[in-house]
């Protein structure tokens, strides 16, 4: 080797060494986002492959790279089982260099993964889970509860239904942390608005297909409103069987957690007139329509709020990584909480110190078949609930991490 080549070689070596000592520090040379969701089970339509697609769209739209390093999206199926979820998360963090976990779908899996993420200092972006306590007594420093929670659903739907005269309630509740939390939040709202809770029936979930006996108990209670504190296939079956058992003329169903995928599978004839609260509707304005149509082309179905939430959360995360110059969890999460969210998903969004993303929510009514003019034209917006009213305040949440 002669002089110029040696100089060139030395310069090349220095150039290679330089990034390692620069301010940009992306661990393992890649920003890896893991979408951990229910791919094949009861919640797979409202999250599942749609959530993975949303994350991939977010990575693509961001340019496929951040701080010069590639963005990689990986995914896994936790089958709604807490042990599979926590083991997958652990393996992802320890062996596969995953930096952040998104979606999680159900409260039982989220509850199992959040402590693992805290131990390993990785961020969790919850889009599907609902339990309010995840930013309350169960809050962790690295958790963002992004899309919606039980308090939002209870206050949106519950308050409006009571205001319209539905002042006695009976709950049909999924017997696990999500259902019980939703029942509790809604009961509080009903009682605060002057209503009464006449009783509740807790059904095993998943695995219950026949709700006839719970509907019978609800009928016997004489309550004006039957609140369904369950989700996915459970809610769909409850609604269908309520119609079959002649419940609906005398009593009304309140769908506390209903997704557009549920309405699509029930059909408007069965679901019409139902009130529900959502964080996102594809037909809200031009921005939501534009994004949703892209999603529809790739997925074949319109996005649920979980899907839109995953896209927005991943984008917000990537923007924070770019802004702070590293994917170190402490720096990124501080930046995420300091930056307001203003995109097609969240109008006036702000992630609080407890990790709860407070944004506007929408109370909607399911249209009748006559009112629906084109495919997926399912919701009539009744009112927009501003962020401050839609979510509990930081003080009310009582997250132990937030200093008074």
């Amino acid at each position: 080797m002669n002089h110029p080549t040696r100089l060139l070689a030395a310069a090349a070596l220095f150039a290679l060494a330089a990034p390692a000592s620069a301010a940009d520090k992306v661990s393992d040379g890649v920003v890896k986002i893991g979408v951990l969701t229910d791919m094949t089970g009861y919640y797979s339509d409202l999250a599942g492959p749609g959530s993975v697609l949303a994350a991939k769209m977010a990575a693509e739209d961001f340019g496929g790279k951040v701080l010069g390093k590639p963005i990689e999206i990986v995914s896994a199926d936790h089958q709604n089982k807490a042990d599979i979820a926590s083991n997958t998360a652990r393996k992802w963090f320890d062996e596969e260099k995953v930096d952040v976990v998104a979606d999680l779908v159900s409260s039982s899996t989220a509850g199992a993964v959040m402590p693992v993420a805290m131990e390993k200092k990785r961020i969790t972006l919850l889009s599907g889970p609902a339990t309010t306590a995840f930013t309350g007594e169960k809050c962790t420093p690295y958790n963002v509860h992004y899309t919606y929670n039980n308090w939002m659903l209870a206050n949106g739907t519950g308050r409006e239904v009571v205001r319209q005269g539905g002042d006695s309630w009976f709950f049909i509740t999924a017997d696990y942390v999500f259902g019980k939390s939703l029942e509790e939040d809604t009961s509080n709202v009903v009682k605060a608005a002057g209503g009464k809770v006449l009783g509740s029936a807790r059904h095993p979930s998943p695995g219950t297909t026949d709700f006839s006996s719970y509907l019978l108990q609800a009928q016997a209670s004489g309550a004006k409103i039957i609140g369904m504190a369950n989700a996915g296939a459970d809610t769909v079956n409850t609604i269908k069987q309520a119609k079959e058992f002649g419940i609906t003329p005398n009593q009304s169903l309140a769908g506390l957690l209903v997704f557009i995928s549920d309405i699509h599978s029930l059909g408007l004839e069965t679901a019409k007139g139902m009130y529900l609260t959502t964080s996102f509707y594809w037909d809200l304005d031009d921005a939501t329509r534009k994004w949703s149509k892209r999603f529809l082309e790739k997925h074949g179905k319109m996005p649920t709020m979980v899907h839109a939430g995953v896209y927005s959360a991943v984008t917000h995360y990537l923007a924070a990584v770019k802004a702070v110059g590293t994917d170190d969890a402490d720096a990124v999460i501080a930046k995420m909480k300091a930056t307001p969210v203003k995109d097609f998903f969240a109008k006036n969004g702000q992630i609080g110190p407890d990790g709860l993303h407070r944004h506007d929510a929408y109370l909607v009514r399911v249209k009748t078949p006559a009112e629906s003019k084109y495919p997926w034209d399912y919701y009539a917006i009744v009112k927009t609930i501003p962020a401050a009213e839609a979510f509990p305040s930081v003080e009310a949440q009582k997250c132990p991490l937030v200093k008074k």
Partner: protein
């Protein structure tokens, strides 16, 4: 209180007759073929989907579907038996269980791939809509229809197997197939027909279920475990046992939903554990 209880018991009876219909097919297949047909839940699901597809793509209504869907799915069953199950006769029960379990996963995965999991809507047929206003509850006509038809089909099947010549051949084929074959009876064909019949029964139950439950790929998987428990409690080979136990367990489950709903998914297995402790062959079974 009595009102509420009667309502729950009637619902329990309805569910019980449904369990009886489902477990009948399973009991027939195990009793006569010695195959643990884990695919029973998936076949039930395929029956429901066949009915839905018939309506959606071919305009075939419920009444025709009751006949055609079991035939179509029964044909699938016949193919499965001829090509796959046939090779496992005489081996340990475990192989049959593993094969049918694998088939279940394939079937559920395929349907999930094409149709997702939220389910498809299937309407209650016009003639069966509405209900009776009983003093203690509103009984949908369709549910009464389900009880009636399930009991009818169960009784008819029991009659065919226990009281007719064909049934006698089927039972003889289990006891001593070689001797039966020596008498000139075509035992392999008999076996195929038996499996096809059991499968058709599962598909028939699926068509009956389509208007009540959402038609979705996992609809069989939650039921099949309960149905297995029913067959085990009734006695693995006994047709009458599975019918009686199906109805009985439906009633027990109905009672549990009234008293302590959180346990309603578990109660069947608790009963199974108790029964097996006292009578290992099941209530009506014979020691093999």
């Amino acid at each position: 209180m009595i009102q509420a209880l009667s309502g729950q018991l009637l619902l329990g009876l309805i569910n019980g007759s449904f369990y009886a219909l489902l477990s009948l097919g399973l009991a027939i297949i195990f009793g006569l073929l010695n195959v643990v047909n884990f695919a029973h839940g998936a076949l039930y699901m395929m029956g429901a989907f066949a009915a839905w597809m018939g309506l959606e793509f071919l305009g075939i209504g419920y009444w025709w579907a009751l006949l055609l869907a079991p035939l179509a799915v029964g044909l699938v069953g016949v193919l499965v038996e001829r090509l796959l199950l046939r090779r496992l006769y005489g081996l340990d029960h475990l192989y049959g269980l593993l094969l049918t379990f694998g088939l279940t996963l394939i079937a559920e995965g395929l349907f999930h791939h094409f149709y997702g999991n939220s389910g498809q809507s299937y309407p209650v047929p016009g003639a069966l809509q509405g209900g009776f206003r009983l003093p203690f509850m509103y009984l949908p006509i369709y549910r009464a229809w389900v009880v009636g038809v399930s009991l009818l089909v169960c009784l008819a099947s029991w009659f065919v197997i226990e009281k007719t010549k064909l049934g006698a051949y089927l039972r003889a084929g289990t006891e001593n197939p070689r001797l039966l074959q020596a008498f000139g009876v075509n035992v392999p064909v008999l076996r195929t027909v038996t499996y096809g019949f059991g499968v058709a029964l599962a598909a028939f139950a699926g068509v009956m279920a389509a208007p009540i439950y959402q038609v979705q790929p996992l609809m069989g998987s939650s039921l099949v475990i309960v149905v297995f428990a029913v067959v085990v409690i009734g006695g693995m080979g006994s047709i009458a046992g599975s019918i009686v136990t199906g109805i009985g367990l439906g009633l027990v489950e109905g009672l549990t939903k009234f008293v302590y709903p959180e346990a309603s998914a578990v109660i069947v297995f608790m009963v199974m554990a108790l029964v097996l402790l006292v009578r290992p062959a099941g209530l009506f079974g014979r020691e093999r």
